[in-house]
């Protein structure tokens, strides 16, 4: 990090050192063992591969409440109010935290940074009041906005949906929210804009017109794209799929569901996806499956870097620690050419009984190092090329003869039948070697 990043606006983290790379043998829990921001791996600095972001909501607005109890986290910097004044003061703590971690990005919802006002005009005004301070802090620290978004799920007005609400006023309300946040994102140089629709879905078909709700969502995204174009916002639009929770069934269930939607409404060139590990699990899928579906469909935008618990059926949003999974994920991201506008956002929260400021650091350090180690492993695998070669060879029959005719569009059922009837039976398959490959993968870890 540049020296500029080392300044502190507040005293709240003064007992925590700036987190530095000390190497794999360090036993200092407040150091990185794998993340060395400026080290070049596979032709790029680690920080530029990983583009890691702190999320505003869990880390600075979460109190670790759950459905069975209120928050447990008490932060010294909070005055107990949800005022604009507090909102502005809080920004300094946030930037102190990010710079102490030495990470380059952050992400936020409108309502994370600024409270609703007495009416919508005031609400918008509050947002801009804080945005101005955020811009100053970005300039002072070099921290950038990975993406912004609007919270259109918490307030009771959204309880039946946002852009898919049966109440057209709520749709209009959301138009204001996204319009303002697009303006703010442009103002802050945000590199992406994310949509997560926690209330976009349904609880029972008995009261739901899915067709109409789907069309409304399609219309909403088009309006957003039109507006972005109009104001010259160049950030990438991203939808963040989630299968369920809080809503029984969410319309952005998984990557494939989003692709079906985007293609239906002609949005597939406009919007990419932001894939979250925990959300993949809730959809009954491996994280890497979701990433690879995005990659092959050209919509791998960004990643919410957390983890769920496959034995629990809700969004636990834990800090990632399985570096083997991060390595598989990074392999896909490298194959995609790396992130362009996207990055790794730590959409993760400390456990309800991790009460201390120190725990905020431990969580992030664990996550940063899991992904940094994953990158190192992935780079080794990519460089060795053995797995890539195995895959290429496995499909070699499509590089010539009848396979080539299939891929080039020359083959028909009749031509293929003629070929195979002559042969009488297909050539034998080669072993798919899963066990060999799994062991090979481990050899890079």
């Amino acid at each position: 990090m540049k020296p500029a990043a080392r300044q502190s606006f507040t005293k709240h983290f003064e007992k925590i050192p700036h987190i530095a790379y000390e190497g794999a043998d360090s036993d200092n829990p407040l150091s990185y063992r794998w993340y060395n921001a400026d080290e070049v791996i596979a032709g790029k600095k680690m920080k530029d591969h990983l583009r890691m972001a702190v999320c505003y909501w869990h880390t600075f607005r979460g109190t670790a409440l759950d459905i069975f109890g209120p928050g447990t986290l008490v932060r010294a910097w909070e005055d107990g109010s949800n005022s604009v004044d507090m909102a502005v003061k809080r920004t300094e703590v946030v930037f102190d935290f990010i710079t102490r971690l030495g990470l380059p990005f952050y992400c936020f919802h409108d309502r994370d940074v600024a409270p609703e006002g007495a009416n919508l005009t005031e609400t918008n005004k509050n947002l801009w009041a804080v945005a101005k301070r955020l811009k100053e802090l970005q300039a002072a620290t070099g921290v950038k906005l990975l993406w912004g978004t609007a919270n259109m799920f918490s307030h009771p007005r959204f309880s039946q949906g946002a852009a898919t609400s049966p109440n057209a006023d709520v749709f209009a309300y959301c138009a204001n929210s996204v319009k303002e946040m697009l303006d703010v994102s442009k103002f802050l140089g945000g590199e992406n804009y994310v949509f997560w629709g926690g209330r976009e879905g349904y609880n029972t078909l008995l009261n739901t017109d899915m067709a109409r709700e789907s069309d409304h969502a399609g219309a909403f995204f088009h309006m957003a794209a039109d507006y972005a174009k109009k104001i010259g916002f160049k950030g990438q639009f991203l939808i963040e799929p989630k299968a369920m929770e809080p809503t029984k069934h969410q319309y952005d269930f998984d990557a494939a569901t989003c692709l079906a939607f985007l293609r239906r409404y002609g949005l597939e060139k406009t919007i990419k996806l932001n894939i979250e590990q925990n959300h993949a699990l809730l959809a009954g899928k491996d994280f890497c499956h979701e990433l690879d579906v995005c990659r092959i469909n050209g919509v791998l935008g960004s990643v919410d870097a957390n983890r769920g618990d496959a034995m629990n059926g809700w969004d636990t949003d834990q800090f990632p620690n399985d570096y083997r999974e991060c390595a598989q994920a990074m392999l896909i991201i490298l194959k995609n050419g790396g992130f362009t506008s996207g990055g790794l956002n730590f959409d993760a929260k400390v456990r309800r009984d991790s009460y201390d400021v120190e725990d905020m650091f431990h969580g992030h350090i664990c996550g940063v190092d899991a992904w940094a180690r994953g990158l190192r492993i992935a780079a080794k695998i990519a460089k060795a090329g053995k797995i890539d070669k195995f895959i290429k060879d496995r499909y070699a029959s499509y590089d010539k003869g009848v396979g080539k005719e299939i891929e080039s569009g020359k083959a028909t059922f009749e031509s293929l039948q003629e070929y195979i009837l002559k042969k009488g039976e297909a050539a034998g398959n080669a072993s798919a070697r899963q066990e060999y490959l799994e062991n090979l993968f481990n050899s890079y870890c």
Copy 2:
């Protein structure tokens, strides 16, 4: 049924009566209590609403083996061989069974009705030998072919995929299979043609090129469509989604995933979906969700009428018995205008310890009555119109004012912002009344 259906080709079911409608108070387990084939409900005969089919595979080729043990079902008509001779003899038993149940349709895979030969030419020949007998039996009984399909998952050559195999020969082999079955389906007047791709998917990304496999699948479906057009086969193409099992991840995961695929490859006008209750569960979805996704996207083709066990994570393929769920499903099917070419195929099997021929009847009677009762309930709900009206009213704000502008494409973020800023807050939401609606639904059951 027409008297013609009452003839018997064999003696195997002579102890079982022709299953007749006896009304809800009957305590004869070998009667229908709800299915009265020619009774008119909601303007159509029950048999024409439901279009029910017996499946060849589970009911006549299944032996109730599972992964932990061999088959337990011993049928008197089987001679223990997998010969063409046995295949032809078996067809008579099948038609006796269907006519005894009084159902109008059946479905089969190529390999259900005829064995593989020593080479592919012989295999094709075997298929046609049986197909001729099937045609005669159809004519003699009035039973029709709801759909045909090719088994491209059992034989070891398909162990790495069929149209998505890394082995181009296997793709060619499948071209022959589908070509022949399209010819046979046309010959037998099949009303649909189904694709279920149990091996179309992957077990590990470490050896898989998903992009290439996806493209191969796209090419295959186009070739099938081209061939059908060429021969004048008018049946509807259907893909049957399944999330997983036998393959870890299957490409036809669920309805939305299929839609994404169809739209990517320009197949959305060509192919509809065949939705199975058990497969919906494996995808983490309610059956009715899958049906409604199909309905609103214009791809509700046909239904595999079975049920899974939400507490078991594999395809149990049980006979349906939850008539409340069938009623919800029939509501969606009615809203879709009913089936056109599709119907209800009992893709279900008796349990491994239901050893007797009698159990084959009990399973089907239970399933037929569950759906017939469901139809009666759905028709009452549709006639009463209360639920429909509730839904229509719920979205009334889109029928006028700002909502109408949204739906007509006139609204923009700016126009909506102007509207809502003036208002200051969205109008309140009305209760979504889920509990009322659930109780109302029960009042029709």
Copy 3:
């Protein structure tokens, strides 16, 4: 209900009629179609079979918040405070609601009825202040306390467990809580006392000594039993199993896990179980499985009558509506001789978008009627006796010969080997007839 129950303490439900039985053909949504409290079914009044209770927490303290948003329910009787004064005033609304539904019982946690005070002494005092009013209202209305319990999961002090907290002070705190609630339960004539340990479990084994936590739980239950004995509280102790949520793994995972625990600590005569439908699902089990495990182990105490969503992995606590499942459950309860001290507690909440007071009634009416209808079906099945007879006959080989020797303890491996070697093979199994039985079951619905 007795006329006394018809009085109203407040005006809050004056627009809602007293819910009365109007029969299955009624289309009045504010009536019972199946629950006729004083009608005798299977030798007992429906109300005495079902012993239904309103829960205080969801229905009167819940605001429909979820993890993604605050409460949406605004009740006219709430003054916004969590004061003792409000607590006392609220009791009248509660009793008005229960009497308007005509249900005989209610259930509560200490913290539902009275707030914490500035210190524990005051907290206890608050509880007693409200308890006195509850006793008066019970007397005035005839409504009784099905069970009481202590909330030892919401407050941050319990975030690492209650009786299994690593902090011994928290254990002591809980001793006070349960002691007071046992005193209160005795004071109010509570028929049971329930333990639900939402925080009794662990989030990671990395910081957990399961052995020690288990022993602490064992000690706690023994202290509770000793104290109850000392004060002469005759209510039945009940543990309510839940697999997970809020805690990753909860120690009372399911019925079997509780039985293992009770037997380890010699508590199997002291404590029975309170089975909840939604909790059964979270444990990967059918509700009826859990009930039957309790029945055959002599611990079927009471039921939390709600339902979960098998497609969602968290506690949705919805009102029950699947009367077929209720019928199966009632069959088991009847086989158990009915409830003794237990009953059906509607541990259910209206959806977040069911904002109105009316919805509170719809939810309960739906649930009451689902169970009442289930009771009617179960009584028919029990009276017909066909399913019972089928089961009895299925095991007939154990009523004589070698089977009888096995059951009487006379058989040994040697004697059985001698028998079966002589026979050479086991007699064939009869069909288990699942499909027939499922259809038979439906014939009573």
Copy 4:
């Protein structure tokens, strides 16, 4: 391995080298990178810590069939018969495989090693014929029998249960099976005897008397224990829990369910558990949870070392490769004092498209190294002692004062209330530090 182990009885693996330890940097896929059998780790040779076994069924009797297709594996040593002659010949291949891997143990079911005969007498005779050859091969190679078991689930006679069958003859049949296998296990020096009851459970409560089935199971285990005592078999009895599959609900659902059963029937001193990773997942539990439940209840017997797929709901029985999970498991095993009679049995099978003999080796090498690496990590963690110390400190409040009184049985609700009322509130909780601990764990990997 001793040189004796290096002899080959057959030529089937001659192209595969004896698998030797080559260190972490080896890129030879047919070597161990982490398993160095005679290297001393934490005071014991690796082979004595891990006690690894090859399973007979998957590796030598499996053909990779699944429910959607027949076997794909064709082994050169198989003559296509299920004869005793083939059975005897096969034993040599098995021992060649084990010795080439350099593993010390194997496991088998009766039906893996010898076929059923025309009657039960002949079946028993067949078993002994092969057992004699096994004994010779054990002597020749030094390979030992970790455990034996009887297959009481495959044959149709077991389709409704084995010891819990409603058919008493089947119970008697099973008495013969287990009696013979206990005799054989004694003859071969088996160190344990395992029960896995794939059919011990139910498919529907509509035909099931769970109480009677449970009692029959209890009686069966007692007879087994009596017989073992009589013949002087000293091996440890083990039950292998599995939640479901093939049966809808299995009685040995998980560790806790088995404990409840063992305690009910007074078997808790007689029987321990054999925990399988994949079975833990099917029960909705982490593998390490199951292990730790066993450890704290004194029933941690042995381990089936495989892995499932948390996204698939059936038993995939894959080779383990997640060494981080193996490390956590080994930590628990070390805390348990290591295995006594138990060990790690690779109850795993190659994928259906891993057709080659080579794949059998890759699978085992991957699994052996995952556990060997796990052991190395666990030993480091145990030696460092930081995690242990953290846990001990976390519960320190129970080592003194009121906590000590609780643990010593001196505290009562009254004494604790007095204490806490005086204090007014519990002392604050310390952070549970999950994120710190997860990162710390990774630092040893």
